[in-house]
């Protein structure tokens, strides 16, 4: 009896221990490789979009970074079915609600990853390439993917390495010359003031200040501010603010390609003093460096902020797009408009940095059984028509924003008018799968008609009153920053230095901006500059300068 009890106990303990060692359920990540990228043997027919439909379904699983898996699944449905029905291509987008960098490292360490990965930055792509996990693609370009080369044009060579090998393709590449960042001002209240003109950041601020005096509290009695922001301020506000002083994405770039970080420039001190003045006047939301985007949006949509400095869309998203749903009496002029401000000392304001190479990369991994078939899909989807399908969503159905019949492309007028009038419901874009399967598509102006673009709502800028106003206000603030988008590879010791500097910068700039006197702000700025330089900022500048000069020589 006693022995039996002991034996039972031991068995139970062993079983519970071993059950913990069982293979975990990784069905979400695991991909049945036998079903992926199958060979397209047999008869192929050309469909109405010009795609040679494979006799066997071409299935491509791709990891696309951090997102809500349920939302992505829902938004993929219609587009996935459309591609399957018309193209016999099944795209499976894999996302996790986990930091992309962490997930990528885990994938590398575990060897468990799909055949395509997209949404990588240069640094992440470099890591996969260095590990031998990315397939060399130039071998397929002439054979099955000539469109990739012709669509990318001069950019193509910038993706080749020293050995002329191609491992990563861009997504969201190309130049769309429309503004992306600016100063913002509450339009109806500005008109109430007689729409006073302004040119410099100081004049812009004085108007915001007067506007705040006229609206010191919102309808709930909560205090209002001239400006606010959300964390990290050095990424969300500073580049646009520095652009008002003529700096390019936070750097002063000389004609010879020398890069100088804004903290090492006199402009940096000026813009810090400007923000400090706003703070000392009690006009800067004291939570600016703490707010998350949602915190900021809550304050903004509660009409507590008079202006903003940063991306154009945020004041639409947190402003009239909220008010028009919540307020029956909302009028069209209750909105923020995008305006420019330029320091008197700057030659021009540089608010929108364009990057023709795009910031995201797509690789085919060594898990792909037939990379050639995947390249065939890239070859189609990178064309203007392929880009339209991926960018604008499923055509010819009830929710479609466009139709494609007999080779003719037309907008659905009701949807178009919605965009023009500002009443378009963007959840419809999600439903028809706009952008959900982006892998190598560009966002620049399309070659075939010279005007269409991947972003559906940006196709009617000349007809949409407020977009047109924005474009006119900001047309000379856009600049090409393709050479200046430089990332330090993760295995370079400078990557750690760079992160340390970013963190120090946010902390020390917050300290300087929130100083109690101008002298303290200046002292704080000097302390920040010295600390950052001591931490290796000059090394970062030297790295950027070297890379920038190399690009000047080789890419032009």
């Amino acid at each position: 009896m006693k022995k039996g009890m002991i034996l039972t106990l031991v068995c139970v303990l062993v079983w519970t221990m071993l059950s913990g060692c069982s293979k975990s359920n990784e069905s979400e990540v695991a991909v049945d490789q036998s079903k992926t990228a199958q060979e397209t043997d047999g008869e192929e027919k050309i469909n109405e979009y010009g795609w040679a439909v494979p006799s066997k379904t071409l299935e491509i699983n791709f990891y696309a970074g951090q997102d809500n898996p349920e939302t992505v699944k829902e938004n993929s449905k219609l587009m996935q079915q459309f591609l399957l029905d018309k193209f016999n291509v099944k795209l499976n987008k894999i996302v996790y609600d986990v930091d992309m960098n962490e997930k990528l490292n885990l994938m590398l360490a575990s060897g468990d990853y799909p055949e395509v990965i997209t949404g990588l930055n240069d640094e992440q792509a470099a890591k996969w390439i260095a590990q031998g996990k990315a397939v060399e693609l130039s071998q397929y370009i002439d054979k099955v993917a000539p469109n990739v080369k012709s669509q990318l044009g001069d950019l193509y060579k910038s993706f080749l390495n020293d050995k002329k090998e191609l491992y990563a393709l861009p997504s969201y590449w190309g130049v769309l010359p429309i503004p992306g960042a600016s100063a913002h001002i509450r339009y109806d209240w500005w008109k109430e003031m007689g729409a006073p003109e302004f040119e410099t950041p100081e004049e812009y601020y004085q108007i915001l200040k007067k506007m705040q005096e006229a609206h010191p509290t919102n309808s709930k009695g909560e205090k209002t501010y001239a400006l606010s922001g959300y964390s990290p301020m050095i990424k969300n506000v500073l580049p646009t603010l520095a652009g008002m002083w003529g700096l390019e994405a936070g750097y002063k770039i000389d004609a010879d390609g020398t890069n100088t970080h804004w903290v090492n420039t006199p402009e940096g001190l000026e813009l810090t003093k400007f923000m400090n003045q706003v703070y000392r006047d009690g006009m800067l939301d004291p939570d600016s460096f703490i707010n998350t985007f949602d915190d900021w949006k809550a304050k903004f949509s509660a009409e507590r902020i008079m202006g903003h400095i940063g991306s154009w869309w945020v004041t639409w998203n947190a402003g009239h797009e909220v008010w028009q749903k919540a307020n029956k009496d909302w009028t069209d002029e209750q909105r923020f408009i995008q305006v420019q401000a330029k320091s008197a000392n700057a030659e021009s304001a540089k608010l929108t940095a364009l990057n023709a190479r795009g910031s995201y990369r797509t690789i085919i991994t060594d898990k792909a059984k037939n990379p050639e078939d995947i390249m065939k899909w890239f070859n189609f989807s990178i064309t203007d028509l392929g880009t339209r399908i991926i960018g604008w969503g499923v055509p010819n159905i009830e929710q479609s924003v466009w139709t494609y019949k007999d080779g003719k492309i037309e907008w659905v007028d009701a949807m178009k008018q919605g965009v023009i009038n500002g009443t378009y419901d963007f959840t419809n874009s999600d439903k028809v799968g706009q952008g959900v399967f982006t892998l190598v598509e560009g966002i620049g102006t399309m070659k075939d008609d010279g005007k269409s673009t991947f972003w559906y709502d940006q196709n009617f800028n000349d007809e949409a009153e407020w977009k047109k106003l924005m474009n006119e206000n900001l047309k000379d603030t856009i600049y090409d920053n393709t050479l200046g988008v430089i990332q330090i590879p993760g295995n370079d010791p400078l990557a750690v230095t760079n992160t340390q500097i970013d963190e120090l910068l946010e902390t020390l700039w917050a300290k300087a901006v929130t100083a109690k006197t101008e002298a303290d702000a200046e002292a704080g700025f000097n302390e920040m500059r010295d600390k950052l330089n001591g931490a290796g900022l000059h090394d970062i500048e030297a790295y950027r300068t070297k890379e920038y000069q190399r690009r000047m020589k080789e890419w032009k």
């Binding site: 002991i6 221990m17 909560e222 009690g282 963190e503 929130t514």
Partner: protein
């Protein structure tokens, strides 16, 4: 006549006992060892085998490559950490936050347990105890949002102070580094004070009630009994937890720092664990993160041994 377990039965002449060898001991205790075997295997498998990963701190590990084929760099990552601009304030914050936790957080549950032990009404005592345990089950995410509601620029505390006219404009309690250590210590104590009383209350329950009666006869009041009977009665428990607490002095927290801290308070909230997470896991610099973590573990082991030695000498109580 020899007294045995079976009563007053005359015993047989006793044969001299065989010397206990480890084999005999093992055989005699075979049933116990059999039960322990899976657990020992578990500890070896999951606690000791993975420790080969410590090697990562001495190589330039790249995800996807084996640790054993990575380039050996010796103490490079340790040196990098020590020479990094963050080392000074990371170490300072870790020691300060942990020190404050030990200074205030260690005696707090003892005091609360002593007070709870004095409650005579059983029902009331149970209710108070249960309520005091509740904060332990509240996640740091919720605690952080409570703190923002209480201490934010537009929080309840600032509102009260403004209404009373004691301040002219809101104090940025969560945006100024000088308040951070106090806030995090108070939050830690609030969250765990009740839960930590459990072990002291159970130790107090083990103190012989006759000793209290004897004390009462000798004229001890309630405070006197606390000081002369209860506290000495739980001394071993206090020392044990103190030694373990010293070992965890570099465990200054993790979630609470990430949730309550922000860019403005970074110079005061960054501790070893958050630093290792940011520069190790998030940047994919696992070797660097492992080196920072290993350094912390080594210091913790040294501290445990030192505290144990001091305790042994001074209080004649130790854990090993």
């Amino acid at each position: 006549m020899k007294k045995t377990m079976h009563g007053n039965i005359p015993s047989a002449p006793v044969r001299s006992a065989k010397p206990a060898t480890w084999k005999r001991t093992l055989y005699r205790e075979r049933n116990l060892w059999l039960i322990c075997l899976p657990l020992i295997a578990w500890v070896i498998l999951f606690n000791y085998v993975p420790m080969y990963g410590i090697l990562m701190a001495f190589v330039d590990y790249i995800p996807g490559k084996s640790i054993f084929t990575s380039d050996w760099v010796g103490l490079k990552h340790f040196k990098d950490f020590i020479h990094s601009p963050d080392f000074g304030h990371v170490l300072r914050n870790t020691l300060a936050i942990s020190g404050l936790n030990i200074l205030f957080g260690f005696p707090a549950p003892i005091v609360l347990a002593l007070l709870l032990n004095e409650l005579r009404k059983k029902k009331f005592k149970q209710i108070v105890q249960t309520i005091s345990y509740l904060p332990h089950f509240i996640s740091w995410v919720v605690v952080a949002s409570i703190l923002f509601t209480l201490l934010g620029n537009e929080g309840i505390l600032n509102d009260i102070l403004l209404r009373l006219g004691w301040i002219g404009k809101p104090i940025s309690f969560l945006g100024e580094g000088k308040y951070f250590w106090g806030i995090i210590t108070a939050a830690n104590i609030w969250k765990d004070i009740g839960w930590s009383t459990i072990i002291y209350l159970s130790a107090m329950a083990g103190v012989d009630s006759e000793v209290y009666e004897a004390g009462r006869v000798d004229g001890l009041g309630r405070l006197g009994a606390m000081w002369h009977i209860t506290l000495p009665g739980i001394r071993t428990t206090i020392v044990l937890l103190w030694i373990l607490g010293i070992g965890g002095i570099l465990n200054a927290g993790f979630e609470q720092q990430l949730l309550i801290g922000n860019a403005q308070t970074r110079e005061y909230y960054e501790v070893v664990d958050t630093y290792a997470y940011k520069y190790g896991i998030q940047l994919g610099n696992y070797s660097y993160g492992a080196a920072v973590g290993l350094m912390k573990a080594v210091i913790a082991v040294i501290l445990v041994f030192s505290a144990n030695r001091v305790s042994k000498k001074v209080l004649d109580t130790s854990i090993f």
